[in-house]
């Protein structure tokens, strides 16, 4: 075997290694963690019904999706929900910095930046049909209804069952079946 031919084989091997490394990275790069979470926000609403007194049932009014604290989604939410409806309603995304202004929201994503203000925020949402969602460790235990966590690089979520009951929202058992239950309504599970 000549050295010239050997060179061409080595060159082909390097190229193969490079492609096998890059292609999965490129594919994975299509959906980021917050892309998934942004989509999941709408999917949660499919299994949750808001009580009659909530404006969710009023189709003339938009579905208010609030993000309190630093927005981890960037433009993702706007990109997705400019065309995607929630509960068959137009989606209005609001960014909230003042916890006192969260009462009009139907869904409130509590950013990690609000870790210290969480008690105050939850005091605003307590016993109100506001679906609170977070992605910070311990938020579910503290009273956020749904809290994302990563398990083997897959986005999973916990549900605070007691908080869900107190909020007045009706959440399908199907959602409970998939989630890890925190603070169960009937005691420790």
């Amino acid at each position: 075997m000549s050295s010239e031919k050997l060179f061409s084989y080595q060159k082909f091997a390097w190229l193969f290694l490079l492609l096998s490394f890059l292609v999965p990275q490129l594919v994975c790069a299509q959906y980021t963690e917050y892309d998934v979470k942004a989509v999941y926000l709408e999917k949660f609403t499919r299994f949750i019904d808001w009580p009659g007194e909530s404006t969710v049932s009023d189709t003339s009014k938009p579905f208010i999706l609030g993000v309190v604290g630093r927005n981890p989604f960037g433009p993702i939410l706007e990109n997705i929900y400019s065309s995607q409806k929630i509960k068959n309603k137009e989606v209005k995304i609001i960014h909230i910095s003042n916890p006192n202004k969260i009462s009009g929201c139907h869904l409130l994503f509590v950013s990690k930046s609000e870790k210290n203000k969480l008690t105050k925020i939850l005091s605003q949402t307590k016993n109100k049909p506001i679906l609170t969602i977070g992605d910070t460790k311990g938020f579910a235990d503290r009273g956020v209804l749904i809290n994302f966590y990563l398990s083997y690089d897959k986005t999973r979520f916990k549900i605070n069952e007691t908080a869900v009951r107190e909020s007045g929202l009706y959440m399908s058992h199907l959602l409970f079946n998939l989630a890890k239950i925190v603070n169960p309504a009937g005691g420790k599970k």
Partner: protein
């Protein structure tokens, strides 16, 4: 189905009842079994669809949140269902999302177009159901279900039904066997009585009626029939006895009358002979029984054989009566004249199969006929002779019946009186027929024919008195006077019955003319005598008549006065 005909009534009834039951049960069971098997399959299909829907519901959120492990866990819970072989979840793009169990490629099915399918194939059930929530499709679920349990259930069910069917049939058989007695027993009793009657011929037995149903009526009818049969039996016995007597009498009569009877079997050509065989054939009855149809033909005289056989063939073809006379050879070689009268019997197709007949010895009759023939010839000869004699006589001769119609006339009668063209013409006609014919032939001359009226009167007088009579009959015939001296007498047959008159007449016209002339001459003489007597008596002169022997005989008045 012919074997049914030979079954006993008991077995027939059981057979009929069982046939009806088996058919109805068979049809009923078949419908029920098919219906239930379909139900079992539908049940399994519905249960599998329900399972698919329940499992699919639990997979909604794993599908919504891309939790294939969660879906896998849900599917894993299905391992407790033994009939479930394999399960698979598809995402909303129709791609496999999760699966559980093992499936061979041959058994796998692609996702159907509308994502819904329930299909039995072999011993597998394929179920596809879409997974939907609030009108949103999340994917589909596929369950591959084994039908072994279903097959086992169907087998058990079929076995149970078969046992039930056999049980019901056995129960039906025992019930039918028991119940058929209600109908068969009276009929069998009736059959037993009938058998006894046919065996022993005892028509005095009667069956005891047990109910008022159709069999009761049958019993009544049977008893009534036996009553009638008994009566008819007695009447038949009487009739048979009478028939036997008549047969015996007839046989004796036939023998006495010299008749021989035969029964000819056309199929075998054999003839059974009876009656007075010995007289006709000269053989003993035993000897003559050997004579069949061909032997019989040989015994016919050769001159008569052809005609006898031709007539026999014609009668056989037409199945008509056979009547022929022929000469029949006796044992000693002599021939008898026999009259053979036969009758052919035909089957339903019209073909003769038997002939019955009588052969009668008519030799004497034939001889008598010969004698008669000879006698007739003699009579004819005599007649011709009498006819010749009568026709050559100048006198008129005739014979008339009771109606005054001529039976016989001689030539003189025809020519001189009747003016007939020959002696045959007057036969059957009367005097008046010819008298009128003669008158009509000369209407211009009423005196052309005046003879006849007196004839009829004298005929009637003879018929009335039944005694001979002599008359003078006269009148004009052919314009000339005819005077006949007629003798008529009644005509009797052998038994003394008057059957007509016979007559003869003599033409005495010339004699009558002479007599008339003599009479006239005599009258003239008498008148002359009277005249001379007057002169004699009135004469003044004495006139005396004297003879030589007697002297004075007479004298007139003048002579008397003189002396």
């Amino acid at each position: 189905m012919n074997f049914i005909k030979n079954l006993t009534i008991r077995n027939k009834l059981i057979f009929i009842i069982l046939t009806v039951i088996i058919l109805t049960l068979g049809v009923g069971f078949t419908i029920i079994i098919i219906n239930n098997i379909i139900s079992f399959k539908e049940e399994l299909a519905n249960a599998s669809v329900m399972q698919a829907n329940v499992i699919g519901e639990y997979c909604i959120t794993p599908l919504a949140f891309q939790d294939d492990e969660g879906a896998q866990k849900v599917l894993a819970k299905l391992q407790n269902i033994p009939s479930l072989l394999y399960s698979r979840i598809y995402n909303d793009n129709g791609e496999e999302f999760a699966s559980f169990g093992v499936i061979d490629e041959d058994g796998d099915r692609p996702l159907p177009g509308n994502w819904t399918l329930t299909e039995f194939a072999g011993n597998r059930l394929h179920v596809f159901q879409p997974i939907e929530y609030h009108d949103q499709r999340y994917g589909a679920i596929y369950l591959l279900v084994s039908t072994e349990l279903l097959d086992q259930r169907i087998k058990n069910y079929l076995f149970t039904m078969l046992l039930l069917l056999i049980g019901l049939m056995l129960l039906s058989y025992f019930i039918a066997r028991k119940l058929q007695d209600i109908i068969s027993r009276p009929i069998l009793e009736l059959a037993g009585v009938t058998g006894k009657i046919s065996k022993e011929g005892d028509y005095s037995v009667r069956v005891e009626k047990k109910g008022e149903d159709e069999i009761g009526s049958l019993y009544d009818g049977f008893n009534n029939m036996l009553e009638q049969i008994s009566k008819r039996e007695m009447e038949r016995d009487k009739a048979e006895k009478a028939l036997i007597e008549i047969k015996e009498q007839y046989r004796m009569l036939a023998e006495q009358a010299g008749q021989m009877m035969y029964d000819y079997n056309i199929g075998t050509d054999k003839i059974a002979w009876s009656g007075d065989i010995r007289t006709i054939t000269g053989c003993t009855p035993g000897e003559f029984q050997k004579v069949d149809i061909s032997e019989w033909e040989k015994l016919i005289h050769s001159d008569d054989r052809k005609a006898a056989l031709t007539l026999l063939d014609e009668a056989m073809k037409k199945c008509s009566n056979y009547h022929v006379e022929y000469r029949f050879k006796q044992k000693d070689g002599m021939y008898l004249y026999v009259e053979d009268n036969g009758l052919f019997l035909a089957d339903e197709k019209g073909n003769a199969y038997q002939m019955l007949g009588i052969m009668k010895d008519i030799t004497e009759r034939k001889q008598a006929e010969d004698e008669l023939r000879k006698s007739e010839n003699q009579y004819k000869y005599l007649y011709r002779m009498v006819r010749l004699m009568c026709d050559n006589l100048p006198d008129l001769i005739w014979t008339k019946d009771l109606e005054n119609r001529f039976i016989f006339t001689n030539k003189a009668c025809c020519e001189q009186l009747l003016n007939a063209k020959d002696t045959d013409e007057p036969i059957g006609k009367t005097d008046m027929y010819f008298a009128n014919r003669e008158k009509e032939s000369h209407p211009e001359n009423p005196d052309y024919h005046t003879f006849g009226a007196k004839c009829t009167g004298s005929d009637l007088a003879v018929l009335k008195s039944k005694k001979p009579k002599r008359t003078d009959e006269f009148g004009n015939v052919k314009g000339e006077f005819l005077y006949l001296d007629v003798y008529k007498a009644p005509f009797f047959d052998k038994k003394g019955c008057m059957i007509g008159t016979v007559g003869c007449a003599k033409d005495i016209t010339k004699e009558k003319h002479l007599e008339e002339e003599h009479k006239q001459a005599k009258e003239k003489l008498r008148k002359s005598e009277i005249k001379y007597k007057t002169l004699y008596d009135s004469s003044m002169d004495a006139i005396m008549i004297l003879t030589m022997e007697q002297g004075y005989i007479s004298g007139n008045s003048a002579s008397v006065k003189m002396f």
